[in-house]
Every structure is written in C-alpha cells, then in structure tokens.
Symmetry: D2
Subunit: 345 residues, 4 copies
C-alpha cells in the first residue's frame, strides 16, 4: 500500500500517518519528493483494506499494490481451473455450450427444446424457474414445478442442467435439482445470496453485473469461494451503455482481462449482451476467438410465444448451424466441445 | 402500443401481426406509409407487456405509449405523497434529514453521533447493522446486536431510525426494530427482497441502483407498492461513470425527472454520490435546490477509525453547519425541516 | 511519479528502471515491499509525462503525483479568476447569465429575443452562426451574416455577445465580432481549434465534452492558456449516460470538483444537460446552489419554429421568472448577477 | 414519423399538429387510442428532421421510422463496398492490415518498422505526423516533415500509407502525401474537418468517437459521403467506460451492428480499444471473428522509447505471429488478406 500525502501535509500529519501505520504492525518507508511526501507500507496489505486510510488527515490518495481478492486470483492457482458440470468439464480448453429457453414454460416445451439443442451439440441445458423480472406484473416463473420439469428433461436427454436462483431461501432446493446454480446479473452483488451458494454442493455460474468492473466480478466470485465452494464459472453478458444499438455492450475484452487475473473459467452470453438474434452468432464467434470457455445462448422453438425474452432467442435450427461453426473455430483455437457425457473428442 | 414493421415486411406478415393482436383482444389501426407500415394497438397495454411482440416476424420496433408502472405514477396519485417515518412527515415540502454513521459499531459510538446529529437538526438516525461489502473479508456489521443498539439510541434521543436490510429472511426482524427499511443500491433489482419489504409494516427507503434508469427505479418501487406497502421513499445516490473525479456521478436532474413521473418522495445522498466530504455540502445544496425531499448524509465523530466508509463521512460540526444552511435554502424554496417529533415550524 | 513494478520483476529489470530514471535526471528512491518493489522518482514530473514509463519492462503501474496541467490549476493562481466579457465580470461571485437562441435565424428574431432576455436580467447574449449539426442535411447556420446580426443586436441592446467557433480558419473573423468565443462540446478535444482560440483577443467559453473527465476539461483549458489567452470560462453541459430520461447526464458535482482544482470560472448549461424545458429551472437552481459562476440557457420566442434545438428552449416569460428566482438564490449564496454594463448591485 | 401526443393533449392541439403537418406537405393519419392519440405522418421524412416537432404543444414523443442517413445506408447500396487504399482492396472479404508506430519519429524508425510489418504481412503502413495529444506539453508530431518520411518509406517498401489529419487547413497537404486520410476519435464530430476530407481525393478512415453511438458514426460518415468522397472506412476503437481494466471498452458487437445498417467497410483497432499489448491479439481475433474488414495495430520496435503511446505498442515479432494467426482465422471465416500490391491469394 502506498499513501500519497497532500502537498500541504504538515510534519505533524506525516508523523501521525507513520505512527498509525506502525501501530497496525507495518513497516513504513518515507520518501520526500520535491512536491509530495509518499509513505510506503510494508506488511500484509489485507489488514489495511479494512482501515479508512484516506480519512487520516493529510492523506491525499491510497494506491493498493495487491489485488483485493486472493482465492480467485492466479496467484492462488496459476493454472486454469476445470469445473465439472455433471460430467462436462468446463475450462482448460473445454467449452460449455449452454442452451435452452429463458423460462421453463411446460414439460412439452422443455422436451422439444432439449431434444433440439442436444442434437445440435449443446452439453448443458438451461431454463429459468425463478425469473427476476423488472415488472411485478410479468411472468415470474413456475417455481419448484419448473425445477422438476428441468430435472426430468435433463435426465431424459442426459444433459446436466443450469437454472437461476434468486432467493437465499431457495438455494438448498435449487441445489437438489440443478447441476449448476446461476446467480444473475442483478444479483451479482447480492452478497447474502453469494454466501449461500458458496455453501451449495453444485458449482455456480456467476453472471457479471450490468455496471460491475472486472475487479467487482472477481470480488463477488471471492465471496462464493471464501465459503468453500471452489467451483465458479464466470459469465460476461454485456454492460450498460449509452448506445441503444444493442441491449447491452458486449465487453469481449473483459474475458481476456479476467483470464490474466484469475484461474476461473469464463463464458460469454451473447443473447443478453446484444438482445438481438441477428447479432448473436457473430458475437458468439467473437467470444470464442477472444478465448472464452463457453457460450450461453437462449433457444426457443417459437419465440413469439415465449413467456420471457422471446425477442432475443435463436431458433433451434439457427442454434444448430451456430454450434457447427463454433466447433470449427474452437478447433482452430486449440479448444473443443465436450459431449454431455463429458467425452472430449 | 405501436408496432413499426420492417421495410420488407410481407403482406402475410402484416396480416399475421393483425391477427395476433386481435386474438389478444385488441383493436388494430393500420397505417401504410411510403416506406413502412405501422400498426396501432388499441386496448389495455398492460396485457401486451407480457407478449414478445418484437419476436413476431416482420416487426421491427415496438413503441410503448404508456408507462410500465402504475401505482408509482402520478396518474395513480396526482399529488405528492407524504410518507411518515416515526412522526416525521417526508415529502410535500417536508424534508427528511437522515444522518448517522455508515455502520453501527458500538452503543457508545451511536450515542455520541446521535446526540450530535439530533442537536444539529437531523430528524432521522441512520446506522448499518447488515453491511453489503464488496469484500468478504471486510467488516460485515453487528447484525441483530446492531439493530438493538440502533433502537435503543433512537428511543433515547427520540429519533426515528433507518437501517438497511439485505436478506429477505431478515425483513421481519428489521421491521421490528426500525422505523424505515433501507434497500441498498446493489439490491435495487433484488426482486425477492423488494417483494418481502413490500409486506413490511414500516416504510421503505429505496436507493437507486448504480446503473438503473429512472424507469428502472420506478419499476422497483412498483414491486414494493404492488405488495401492499404504499410508503416508499426513493433516493438518488449517484450512478456509475467513466470519470473517477467523484465516486459516482450525482444525477441531480433525475430527482426532477422522477417528480414529473411519480408522487413518491425522493431524497438525495451526496455521501455516496460523491464519496468526497469536501463536495458533500455543495451537492446537498444542489439536491435541495433541484427539489429533493431530503438529504441522507453519513456522519462520524472519528472517520479515521470508522469501520466502513470512513473517508466519506462528515464530522458532526460540519454536519451542523450544513443543516443550518440547508434550512435557509429550504425556506427560500418553500420547504421546511420538520423536527424529529414531526413538528413543522 | 511512482512506479510500481510487477510482482515478478527481475533484479535486472529493477536496475534498468533505476538507470533509465537517473539517465533522465531523476533521483530515485527504492522501496522493496513483501510482494512488490516500488520506485519513487524525485524531480520535475512534467518531463516524465512524455516518457512511456509503462513500456519499460517490469513496470506494472505508474502513479502520477502531480496534476498534468499547471496554468489551469489552483497552484498557479490560488484565487478564483474573474474573466471580463465585455464589461461583465464572470467568476469570483459574479454570475454570467447567458441567454439567447440556439441559432441566429434573422435580425428580427434576434432583436425580439435580445429585448426579452435583457429585460429579464441576462447579461450576455448568445446565438449560433456556425452550427455543428449531427446531420449534414440540417440547417448549418447563417455564417458571417449571422455574426453581423449578432454584433448589431448586441450593440443595440448593449449586451456582450457569445457565439460558437468551429473552424480554426474562422477564429480571427469570429474574434472580430464576438466578446466571447465558444468552443462546443464536440470540439473540446479539437486541439487545433483550442490552439487557435488561445491566440484570440477575446475570452473563451469552453464546453465540456460528452465523455470528458474533469481532468480532460482542465487539460483542454490548459491548451488555450498555454497559447497566451488567460481568459477561459468552463461550462458543464452534461455527459453521456445510459439513461435517456434526460438528453445528457447533468454532472453538477463536477462544478464543485473543478473549483477545488482550478481558478477558472465554471458555469452550467441546463438546456443541453437535460434537453427538457420542464427540468431546466430546477437544474439551473442546482447549478447555482452547487456554486456555479453562471447559467447558460437557450431562449426562443417560438420554439416550434426554431431552426435548431427548438424543443429544449425556454420561452422569454419562463426565462424572466427563472432569473428572478436565481437572483434570490444567488443572493442567499453570497453571489450576484452583474448588469450588462458590469454594474454589481 | 410518428407523433405520440400527451395524454392531456386538447382537441385544439391535435388540430394544430395536423395543420402544421399538412402545411409541410404531409399526409396525416390519426389514431385515437384509449389513452393517447397518435399522428402518423406520411411523406418524405427527411424534411421533417429539420422541424422541432417535439416543440409543438401537445406532442410528447417523436418516433422516426427512417434512418437519418442515406448514402451510408444499405438502402443506398445493398452490397458491401470495397474501398481501395493504394492497390489494396478493403471490404467485401478483403482485410486491411494496418500497422505502424503511433507517431513518425524519424526516417530510420519508420524504415525499421515498415520493413518488419511488411514482412509480417501488413498491407497498409500507418504513422502519425500531426498528433492530437491531450497535453499541450506532449510531443505534437513532426508535421510535414513526418508526411515526407511516411511517403518515402511507403514508396520504398511499396506499402500504401495512412496518417491522421486534424486541421481542415492541412487536408489538401495530407491528401498529397497519403493514400488514406484518418479522422481520429476526438474529431469524429468535427464537422468542419469531415466536410473537408469529403472533398479529398483519397479515401477516409473514420474512427468512432469515444461516446459516439452507431448512428452517430454513420451520420459522421454521411458528412463525408455527402461531399462527394464515397470511400469511407469506419473503425471501432473502443468507447468510454466505467471500468479501467482496459483503456476503453472494445464494442465488438458494434461491428456487426454497423454491417447490418451500412455498406461501408469497418475495421477494428484493438490497440486503442484496450491500451494493453497483452490483450491486443485476443481482441484482434475477436474483431476478425465478428466480421471486421481489417485490423489496425500499433507496432514499435522499441516501445519504451516511443514518443507517443509506447505502452500500447506490439513488438514486430509479436505482430508477425499475430498476422499468421489472423490469416488462418480469416480463411476459416471466408475472408483473406490481400498483399500490399492488391493481390488476393
């Protein structure tokens, strides 16, 4: 930690800063420049993160030297982690191909879509049972009935399943039905929920919040990891922007940035990132090309009748064509799509 | 609702759109322009919000004509609402002066600060018992012990109290201790929590999310209102920005924009909006001048020892001077600061 | 300047960094922490700004200690500057009340509006002769004919005049007609234009760019100042945002932030910041309350026939009422509106 | 154009709107809904763009039906345009590989870099002679001497050259030396400059502004096209963001969005988009995968001595490796890299 003092910091203030630092067990290192005095603090920086250093009189700026997360960082785990979802390995060159409708609407609907995406090459089935909707008057999901349908269809088609959990009181229940627990963008800093999924048995799919920085995402992952659940997959799904050309702004560089800081797998969600089916394939390719560990795509056999997010869903035949092209691209980039059985060609 | 069709929409698609709309009980109104066909749908727009209209082939754009919230809108309640927090009226010209530390640290600390802010003219005492911290390694609050301290100190100094609730499982407990339940920025779209506080006995202080639009805030308020709790106070606390000169970007115009759409009181929080004590007074004045129904400010008697957000707290004497000036400004603008007893001079 | 080295910087790299710094005439100060080595550079920081320090192998981060501008900073001039526009003092408690239409359309139009805003209490008349329009097919302004009208009407009503200059080739011409040269938001980093107005005789009104940080604005002011023109007035006019509730996001805190860094006067432009006449008065009050040195407002006697930006103009009678209230508010805040003759009541 | 009237619009206002529209030569189409009246205007929408429709009393919202640009749109030219830079075709499956230093520093430097990038496979050489720097104290470029060096080196290595023009007074001069004229991000809405390059002989490389929407970019291109220069190449180079993990936010989806609206080629610039050499290759791949028509990359043989933007430059050997991989990827995506002679393998 480096403290840059104010240009007009008095000698008393300098001494007070040094005294406070040493009181906390740090070695200090004073450097008096032409215009400013700088205090280097040597010791365990984590302890300092709890101290309001900029509130100490005379301190202008605090420059952290270490990252604020540790379990999520490459320092803790220099090799890319491989997270298993059912039998499917994700990360380390293995791509998660997550597909399915936004919301679980009926057994029939899920069977139709599961059959199609399995055939296309998806290895994880998605479907929402608890839907976080901006309007209280919109369809809120089928709840536990939806979970049962998802599990049944996952078993029938031999696909591991992922579904969102929005309520800390439901984590245990969702953990019984699902192979992967999704925490949505709006809940990325719902720390109560993060702590709860940190105690779940199954891995967690953590979506980036709409205005979360790369560091914020990794701090949220740290919440889950610090509770003992070491299986976290991150997901870039677009951030808020001034441009309404796309629903969100797909931050493809964040995938590469995360991979230089963390060992956790990170996938992309071009469905939410763009909100436009006509751009989804191109953005899925971009995600694979940049190095993402998988692609999350919403697929519906009849978007105009979907109960949620229909306008951004791909049709099964569009998805199938997309997977074929992703397979080629992945192969060129030295990666592969495991089957739902976890077989890696 | 207006549907703008694609330039190349076929006659079949036009007929399909009309048929779908009439099937849902709407009258349609077709307008064929030089380059585009437009379909006006006449009827209850709410029903349409659930339908993925842009997923219908041939539809390019959907233009809603009504706002998606109703209980929160001026249509439902054309006069400004007055929400009572303890005996303090908020709204309709009455200003909430909320002050206190970020986190409740001890009985002693709360007594010191409560005495000071009461004397300065604050009419509501704040203090956090459950702290949503970005790092799992930071101080997380005293929990129920904190709530007890807050209640005790509020009673001693005859100040109604506000504290944040972060967990739907704690809403009932917090509702027993507090006079006003805060939903924080990071939980503004935690719809599970919103539904729960919608069933609480006490009013709700709903802070704007970091990348929430004015419409998003009002939709979140609608969640609370739709559960039966009609007492919601909104709070502008800055949004995410590219400029790090201030912690967030204080969106003072949003206060005025909300007041032209909704009857709910809206206050400002210059502490979180700026993160800089040197800018808090100026921004508090701006908030009052723009028409806000109150000011939320963090006050600590020893910021450098505060366990949370110390660097952005005002000292009690700074707060006292600020309230004096706010009182004058409010008076010029035709508004007033009620006492904690609810007396309006 | 502080260089934070990478965790894995080799001893050779450390020595290379030190050697490079000393070669440039700096004293170095090495601080080896538990995890990182830090190099403090003591000497004239300006010289370092030209050197790509982060390109030196082993360097992770460069932390500047001084601000990159000097003439614009409070260090260079600790008291607020007062800039004279015609005979009107701006800054140091004196408010610029700039009003007029977006575009100069005719002599008749300018006379009508000038008479009205003068009577209302405006002390500077605005009008655009060269309009930077996003569409090449929109009205581009009357050019030099417009300048002549503006000058004539300014003289007739004894109001100093401000108009935008967009082309470095026109600076000399505009300087002959106008009392204040405006550089618009879209040209805030048009450094060629900045250099040119830096050589003009009259003062410059520099509007903040749509995604310019406070530091960016001050660097652009530095361009003008460094050419010898020491009379610069800044203007906050809203930045780009994800929320379309207002045309731009009015960054009222930036006014206070600038005043803690620079001696230059800074005014607000609620017309462009909000784009909504119904919010302009409230945001003008907020600007005055936060400490701005004036208000720029677009006024048109017939907005629906205006050739540019009609939808955001106030009517003359609305403007008149607004000035009355601003006068009261300014007086409470210890500031005042000089007359166009420069008289300060 | 569709006008949505206010809920409380009077019958007089409705009639005034209709009268105004018909006066301008439009057919109107009135649709009275349950809550709102809507007026469709049928006719040439371009004429309406000049009219401040929202300033007409009773009008709440104006919904345009056509895009505001025409020469840039796919309607005007349904097939992708191919722009020739020297002999190199860009667009329609042909990739521009633009490489070189940020600033031209000397003949020696340019010869070294040109030799390396030519060998690596670049087909256009870049170098800045006029540098738009945020600080007036930074290196501003060699000016015309730089242009001469660039031309000489381009001729020696048989590479067409691109350089930035920042001043309308220099367009003619730059047009004499360069094969492609760059308009930088900060000048994207410098309409005076756009008009000037619209009259140049050579094609224009138009970089997206830091907070420009996709529509803004296309409107700026329209400025150039409307002056008669039909050869415009667009360039996505990142937009402003709240996250400092990368210098800007690389908006890869914008490439795909532009291609669905316009026939103009669009390339990506991962150097400026990320500002981080370690992320440049991954983002270049993403750009190619999403469908970009080329890649602009800064290359310097000694970044730590570069006079501008050294920290974001690739080394020649890194660039060479990158081009090899881009070639493979392009081939998979059905595209190709022409040689500098314009040969397409």
């Amino acid at each position: 930690m480096i403290l840059i003092l104010k240009p007009d910091a008095t000698e008393d203030q300098v001494q007070h800063v040094v005294a406070r630092a040493e009181e906390m067990g740090f070695q200090t290192h004073l450097s008096r420049g032409t215009f400013r005095t700088i205090v280097g603090l040597i010791g365990n920086e984590e302890k300092l993160q709890a101290i309001p250093l900029t509130a100490i009189p005379g301190v202008a700026q605090v420059v952290p030297v270490m990252s604020p997360y540790k379990l999520a960082s490459l320092d803790a785990h220099p090799q890319p982690s491989v997270v298993r979802v059912g039998r499917v390995p994700v990360g380390g060159g293995n791509l998660a191909m997550i597909a399915g409708p936004c919301a679980i609407e009926s057994l029939e609907q899920m069977r139709t879509i599961a059959a199609a995406v399995k055939k296309a090459g998806a290895n994880i089935l998605r479907g929402g049972a608890y839907k976080p909707r901006t309007s209280p008057y919109s369809f809120q999901g089928l709840g536990e009935d939806g979970l049962k349908i998802l599990r049944e269809v996952g078993d029938e088609f031999d696909l591991p399943v992922v579904t969102e959990v929005t309520d800390p009181r439901c984590v245990e229940r969702v953990d019984q039905y699902a192979d992967l627990l999704q925490v949505g963008a709006r809940n990325m800093q719902n720390f109560v929920l993060l702590s709860e999924v940190g105690q779940a048995e199954h891995p967690v799919l953590l979506k980036r919040g709409m205005s979360a920085t790369v560091d914020d995402v990794l701090m949220s992952a740290e919440y889950v990891l610090s509770q003992g659940n070491s299986n976290v997959i991150l997901c870039e799904r677009g951030v808020k922007s001034f441009d309404k050309a796309t629903r969100n702004l797909f931050d493809v560089a964040a995938v590469a940035a995360v991979q230089r800081l963390s060992h956790l797998p990170i996938i992309v969600d071009p469905s939410h990132a763009t909100g436009r089916p006509d751009l989804i394939p191109a953005c899925a390719f971009a995600g694979i090309a940049v190095g993402a560990d998988g692609v999350h795509i919403e697929v519906h056999h009849c978007p105009e009748e979907a109960k949620s997010d229909g306008p951004q869903a791909l049709l099964p035949e569009q998805y199938s064509e997309l997977v074929d092209r992703i397979r080629e691209l992945a192969s060129l980039m030295g990666r592969r799509i495991p089957t739902a059985d976890g077989e890696v060609a």
